[in-house]
């Protein structure tokens, strides 16, 4: 059944954070202010690559209102950050490697004074040659950006003998795919408030996807114990991976400690563009071959990824791309070579889909091209090559087996949209045979309940396309991936669910509340959700990699017996009744038979002998192999689209979409639908308009006038989402995570729809309208 508000019935709930969001009352961390607060700003590099000859802050320090001007000399600890590989300077010492590199920071009484002071910091540069092309950066003689050279990371994979495989192929397709420097474009730019407390501690109010990671990194920079830092990290006005790494936090923390006053930073959009992460632009070459019947015999992949100047999670993203460039298919032999390269371009890093978006665009493009050569339906070609439930994962690793592949493959064929395609194809065939009214009628019935189709003008061409996604969740083998949480009956009688996760819009608080209501029988009013504060939450791991809903579900499963058992035992003791005769449910502990309320949670809390609480801690399940980054749990999706090409303008419009998603149970219907629709909207931008354009290391795109994220006009078409919840009997892993999946499959599906519409292959994103413009004769 399609996921809608109506089909969800009472499971469709109002989010607990909703009222604050629709009234504007919810204060984001960048909305905060403190008495006597200063304003912080960062001086960033004037050049994409230069030697710093000298920095003088003397004039800036004498400017009115200026309270501190800091440089690398003022960093007490490690002058570097980076989640996995700390090589990103907080303040550059002797060299800048990109246009967003920080050199100094200022705190002043007003933002205007801080901005004026930045202009008075004198930096003498000696420009160096720019490396703005990852392939050129690998050539001998290219300027080297780091001691280790320009290679940030390599990852190769091979099974079987690809040469022999290609020799046996009847059809071979070779293509080079290129993907854009997509920007997360969270509506709330980076920022926060940094408060030095009277007791010597530092409180950081700033969005991140993993408060404990920020705390660890800040402790390393500030050279003070982690316990002296409190990170308050939610709510967040969007992140999509972009706020996973530190951004303004080092500057806010250093300025607050240097001045002894609260400091606020809030990036302008240009500052955000300039310094922030983007999706890795990748160039992916693929050579893929089949036998005469369409069986995949050999697959060879080469990936070049543009890391920009520093590492963050570039290596991990590349590993993910390698895995997903193989996808859900069985190849006779496969070989992947990949390299991530340092350049003087903007910072690339973690972004929803995590390298899967680029790889799947290429992989699915290969199958569509092969289907054309074979004269076979592209969806049928996928069927004969898809993995079976018990097959190993893409890298040969054991994975959690589900029937997701078959489920989403079949669901697509049965969808309204794909049936419409079948009808449109037979109608076209019929029309070619004889131009008649029957064909028109068939078209008119095929618009999915919309108004009857009007014959479009001849320059409008429509087509259908589909793509398959198998997306790994969790951080993967070799990366610490802790999970857990705590339930506790607080003194005021609220049941507190305490988790170290972050709310950046995905609906995590709502999902947690919904699970506690549905699985524990509590009422919303019994609950208090506590997240996003490193002083009070356990380390539940990061809110990334489509993992937090899975991990909350598993935590609650582990906590259910111990926590409810303790509530029950203490209530029974207080009531002088046998434990079996009472049940903790909505409102309090009730008579197990009649449901009569015997003891409210407030009464239980005030009378309990000791605190009633339970905690669990475990790790995200991983595959028992050594290959770093290999995944164990996967979500599956098939995506169908109908798109239209205007051959006069070359513009592509998405008209209709269908997503089948096999990822285990739907925890929160509204959140699930929103994640797929929202992910897909982001994928539309990746496909048709979004690219943060750089020229010789300088951003030409500075704001949202030239960086075009889809508007309501681009996304007004239908979007059907079909969740497939069924898991194999005895499966213990529950929901698989759907936070990223929706952002992956749309691009290749649209590329195929374009091909069906106008016969042109798209290999570079975003789609260049020039490619699709036709010469029109006006004679």
């Amino acid at each position: 059944m399609l996921l809608t508000r109506e089909s969800s019935g009472e499971r469709w709930r109002i989010r607990p954070d909703g009222p604050g969001k629709v009234t504007g009352e919810l204060a984001y961390l960048t909305d905060m202010a403190a008495p006597g607060m200063l304003h912080g700003m960062v001086l960033r590099s004037s050049y994409p690559h230069a030697r710093i000859v000298a920095v003088s802050t003397e004039k800036a320090k004498t400017m009115p209102g200026v309270r501190a001007v800091l440089t690398c000399a003022d960093v007490p600890g490690l002058n570097r950050f980076g989640i996995a590989h700390p090589d990103h300077p907080v303040f550059c010492e002797d060299r800048v490697r990109f246009i967003g590199d920080a050199i100094a920071a200022v705190a002043a009484d007003t933002a205007l004074q801080a901005a004026e002071a930045l202009k008075r910091i004198e930096v003498e540069y000696e420009p160096l040659p720019i490396v703005d092309d990852p392939e050129a950066a690998l050539l001998e003689g290219a300027p080297q950006l780091h001691e280790q050279g320009n290679v940030q990371h390599r990852n190769d994979y091979r099974h079987g003998d690809p040469e022999a495989g290609f020799a046996a192929c009847a059809h071979i397709v070779e293509e080079t795919y290129a993907t854009p420097r997509q920007m997360h474009t969270y509506m709330e730019t980076e920022g926060g408030l940094f408060i030095p407390e009277r007791n010597g501690r530092l409180t950081v109010y700033s969005p991140t996807q993993h408060a404990f990671m920020d705390r660890m990194q800040l402790a390393r920079i500030l050279d003070r114990p982690e316990a002296d830092i409190r990170v308050v990290s939610s709510p967040i006005g969007g992140s999509f991976g972009g706020k996973d790494e530190l951004n303004v936090q080092p500057y806010g923390a250093l300025l607050a400690l240097a001045t002894g006053k609260p400091v606020k930073l809030h990036n302008s959009r240009w500052e955000s563009v300039r310094a922030g992460l983007k999706r890795h632009p990748m160039k992916i070459r693929m050579k893929t071959g089949t036998d005469a019947g369409g069986k995949l015999l050999a697959h060879r992949v080469s990936i070049v990824s543009d890391a920009g100047p520093y590492s963050t999670l570039s290596a991990e993203v590349l590993n993910f791309s390698v895995e997903h460039a193989l996808g859900p298919y069985r190849f006779g032999a496969a070989e992947v070579k990949s390299v991530c390269v340092f350049t003087n371009n903007g910072m690339s890093g973690e972004f929803r889909g995590f390298g899967g978006n680029q790889a799947v665009f290429a992989m699915e493009g290969q199958l569509d091209r092969l289907a054309e050569k074979l004269g076979m339906d592209p969806w049928e070609l996928r069927r004969i090559n898809l993995r079976k439930p018990d097959d190993p994962g893409p890298l040969g690793q054991p994975i959690s087996a589900t029937d997701g592949v078959r489920q989403v493959w079949e669901a697509l064929g049965e969808s309204r949209l794909w049936r419409e395609r079948e009808r449109a194809r037979s109608a076209n065939a019929g029309r070619r045979a004889e131009v008649g009214a029957g064909a028109k009628e068939a078209d008119a019935t095929s618009t999915g309940g919309g108004p009857a189709a009007v014959e479009p003008p001849p320059w409008i061409k429509t087509g259908y396309g589909a793509a398959f996604v198998m997306h790994g969740a969790g951080l993967g083998v070799g990366i610490p991936d802790p999970a857990g949480g705590r339930l506790r009956l607080a003194q005021d009688g609220r049941i507190e669910a305490v988790f170290g996760y972050e709310e950046f819009g995905q609906g995590l608080i709502a999902s947690l509340e919904q699970m506690l209501i549905e699985q524990y029988g509590f009422a919303a009013d019994d609950l208090r959700i506590v997240i996003g504060d490193s002083d009070v939450v356990p380390n539940s791991g990061s809110s990334t990699a489509s993992r937090s809903t899975s991990m909350m579900w598993q935590s609650l499963r582990r906590l259910r017996a111990p926590f409810k058992g303790k509530l029950r035992a203490e209530a029974a003791r207080l009531l002088g009744r046998p434990a079996e005769s009472v049940k903790p449910l909505a409102g309090g502990v009730r008579d197990a038979g009649t449901g009569e309320l015997l003891l409210t949670y407030a009464e239980l809390a005030s009378r309990a002998e000791e605190e009633i609480a339970a905690e669990t801690s475990f790790f995200y399940p991983t595959s028992p192999v050594d290959r770093v980054g290999s995944h164990f749990m996967y979500s599956y999706s098939s995506v169908a689209v109908k798109a239209e090409v205007n051959t006069l303008t070359g513009r592509v419009r998405l008209l209709d979409q269908f997503h089948a998603v096999a990822a285990g149970p739907v925890v929160n219907p509204q959140g699930y639908l929103g994640q797929i629709e929202g992910g897909s909207g982001m994928a539309l931008g990746f496909t048709i308009t979004e690219d943060a354009v750089m020229d010789r290391g300088v951003y030409l795109t500075r704001n949202l006038d030239t960086y075009l994220v889809p508007t309501i006009a681009e996304l007004r078409g239908a979007c059907e989402v079909l969740p497939i919840e069924e898991l194999p009997e005895g499966d213990e892993h529950g929901p698989r995570g759907i936070g990223e999946l929706g952002s992956v499959g749309l691009a290749p599906a649209i590329a195929q729809a374009i091909f069906e519409a106008v016969g042109k292959r798209v290999a570079k994103l975003p789609v260049d309208p020039q490619l699709l413009q036709e010469r029109v004769g006006f004679g």
Binding site: M187, G237, R269, S680, T711, I712
Partner: protein, 171 residues
Amino acid sequence: MIDNTWTERTAGARLECEVNGRPVSLDVAPSARLLTVLREELGLTGTKRSCEIGRCGACMVMVDGKPINSCLTMAYQVSGSRITTIEGLASEAELHPVQQCFLEEGGYQCGYCTPGMIVSVTAMLEHNPNPTMEEIEEAMSGNLCRCTGYGGILRSIARAIETGGQSNDCR
């Protein structure tokens, strides 16, 4: 005679206007934008700062019933005007019907674009209670949402239209 013109200019002028039904009288710098006055002087942080070039709509407020980007509006331009921000839509007792529709349909995720989005929808429906899809596109293309893909927003708008925007059905 001492010419005070320049001093007066740089010291700013008195801004008199009405914000969410309450009279406001403030000294503001001539260069102050309405967005800054709302957020920093009046503490109305429901109006959001995002692109600051009038492209994203996160800072949308109503000035005399018309939706405008407060980031592009100088404070002096609203002298004598009636300004409604997101904080001014709900009554003491209940949400505005458009807010209620967004709440029930899930027309938001991170919520950062939501105040501006709701202000634009409210302004649209006040002028045109039954807009066509083309009119919705036109009225809402200045409000960007990065989370929802607009599905929940379109359903919220449809519901608000269905229930008459001003009726109690969505409460």
